[in-house]
Symmetry: C2
């Protein structure tokens, strides 16, 4: 349930090749202003999401977890001209709430969450320009204690500005949400939205140890009781 599938309904960008691409964990050297060879980045992540729930109000949840992101071959050898395409292939974040217990966020396999890192055209001639990063993400929000599973239809657009190295480990980012992004219930997917995300701030973490990744995967299985 956490990994991207081969046949999503829709892919938000080009599918990035996974064959033979190496996993990157703690200890990986990252050079600034250098388009790296392809890799699967295993990174921590934290996110503070604000939800609006009708007849209840606003709920702010601090999430912590991991992402696995595969990066494409850069489209050019030099930093200024290189675009790098990305797919989010695995995601788990957990937030604990008083109201609803543990909330687990995983990838929605109906979509290929995808993005890119690129140099804004107006900066392409600068010396060592910052890159921009965007990714369109479809997630599932599991609330096992209250027996609810929510999901977004319109992708959550996650952006990171001022990217000086790839991956942008340690950078803060924003979900670009204007007023609200609707969430739907898995038990009534064609019905009206049941909640909204009204704000989302995240921070990309650094490379994980393989054992940290396994602990987080085990935690997910416990939360979902699978």
């Amino acid at each position: 349930m956490t990994t991207a599938t081969a046949s999503p309904k829709i892919a938000w960008g080009p599918r990035v090749n996974l064959d033979g691409v190496e996993n990157r964990f703690a200890g990986t050297t990252v050079a600034p202003y250098s388009p790296p060879v392809p890799g699967i980045d295993n990174l921590g992540i934290t996110s503070t999401d604000t939800f609006y729930i009708p007849n209840h109000g606003e709920v702010v949840v601090d999430f912590k977890g991991y992402v696995r992101v595969v990066r494409s071959e850069p489209t050019a050898g030099d930093w200024n001209r290189a675009t790098v395409y990305t797919n989010l292939i695995e995601l788990y974040m957990r937030g604990d709430t008083v109201e609803a217990g543990a909330i687990a966020v995983t990838l929605n396999p109906d979509f290929l969450s995808a993005g890119a890192l690129w140099t804004p055209p107006c900066d392409a001639e600068c010396d060592k320009p910052a890159k921009s990063c965007r990714m369109a993400v479809n997630a599932i929000f599991h609330l096992p204690r209250v027996g609810m599973i929510l999901f977004n239809k319109e992708p959550i657009e996650l952006t990171i500005d001022d990217v000086r190295s790839i991956p942008p480990a340690g950078n803060p980012g924003l979900g670009r949400i204007h007023e609200k992004l609707p969430l739907y219930s898995r038990s009534d997917p064609d019905g009206p939205p049941v909640a909204d995300i009204t704000a989302l701030k995240f921070v990309m973490g650094t490379y994980l140890e393989p054992t940290e990744l396994e602990c987080l995967r085990q935690d997910l299985r416990q939360v979902l009781n699978v």
Copy 2:
């Protein structure tokens, strides 16, 4: 090609019933702060879209055309509490460019473009609050002179603030685009983006005469040569 289909890949919101819903044209009376009975609004629209085309640069295009929007039964009888769901069921805008001749924008039938008008929760207790309006739209950009057809995957989020009557005829609106929204080519739909929308400002027009709608539909057929 301009109308929404029964079986899109994905619907961005609830499907609004069309059976027995009346068309609204010029002459329709619109009362402020009143949730109206369902209707199909036939409205003019203008939009100024900015595109970024690699190896070419920025192109700003002024579009003009029409929309047909079906509105749901309001979820409540009073203005403050009513949410109204909308589906964009027909769209045509035309922009004429030096570089590529006429550009025709129509609906993408693979998606159900959908949205809502609602009162921001913090304003629900105010006297005569303004509503907000959002719609997620997937379009096709036809460039017949250069033989290109482009489309967006992530929906374009069109928003109108300060809505005092439904429909919000005459209101200005914005496409909520952070840096860029990628466009893909119909001839290589799984490939990398070929252009971006970098900005979008629109103005909802007023109700059309039925003859104006027919003239615009005829213009579309001529532009597309069908």
